[in-house]
Symmetry: C2
Subunit: 140 residues, 2 copies
DNA sequence: CTGTGACCTCAACCCGGGTCGAGGTCAAGG
DNA sequence: CCTTGACCTCGACCCGGGTTGAGGTCACAG
């Protein structure tokens, strides 16, 4: 073996899934969707190196952040330059996340206000009523 | 007609849905799930008053904030006092929302960093790699 | 009287994102 | 030798959250 190449520590699908915190079935599913690949197969079995496990972890991370599998695939398959670069897409997504965050913050604020509301039912809570009156409930 | 009772302005399901920004089919679906009810039916047709439309709007709002229909139903059907009060549940949900917000903020920060990353592919982006190394990628 | 439009019910279907189970292969250990 | 455990494939199934379509009922306009 060429010197300087350590054992690489390949792991099976079970171990890979465990490390990333997803189920084995999900890993296979992601593979079927083209999101992740084992570095190699030995006797039919998938083997993952550090790189591949990290890729899986990135999928899990993005998914957890609310991206759909299709969006993740899109991020992965784009090139690094131009208008259609992955950076451009990342910018878009970051902006979307930004507005999502603002929405959630408003919601959290309402819920916190609501905690000190004496109404016997959430539906009677004036804070929540206020929340919906802020929005285009009664639209154009 | 008793004096002092204005026409109440009842609207049909189409108008109610339009005001809240959801589809008619979704309104019926929510009704089937017990989340919302028309104030009355005339000749089989659902009629909604301001109150009912607001309730629908609250459903839409909560859903948009990431609550499942079951969670929303739970919020609605709880009483106003004690350990199982809707306020208590609102507190829990607010806390969950809080951690969700933090996660999303981290993700947004990573994506923003990533925009200035020269890698030809997102998978090579060191910022994102950093993101996953912060987490329990390689677990216990 | 006949459209047209808004509404009704009910069952079937769709999509995303997986999960499950049957039936089979392999390697290592007792 | 035989079991055990981890893995394989493939097709069926599940759940949430709706959407669609067929077939029918109204009310009002022309």
């Amino acid at each position: 073996m060429t010197p300087g190449t350590p054992p690489q520590s390949l792991v099976g699908i079970g171990e890979a899934a465990r490390r990333v915190g997803v189920r084995v079935s999900a890993v296979r599913f992601y593979e079927a969707q083209g999101l992740v690949l084992p570095v190699e197969r030995r006797g039919g079995r998938r083997l993952y190196d550090q790189e591949a496990v990290e890729r899986l972890a990135i999928v899990a991370l993005l998914k957890n952040a609310g991206f759909s599998l299709a969006q993740i695939a899109d991020l992965f398959t784009r090139g690094g330059t131009g208008d259609e670069s992955w950076q451009a897409l990342a910018r878009e997504r970051a902006a979307e996340l930004g507005s999502r965050i603002v929405e959630l913050q408003r919601m959290r604020d309402y819920l916190e206000l609501a905690q000190s509301c004496p109404s016997p039912c959430l539906l009677a809570c004036t804070h929540l009523r206020a929340a919906i009156r802020d929005k285009p409930v009664t639209a154009p």
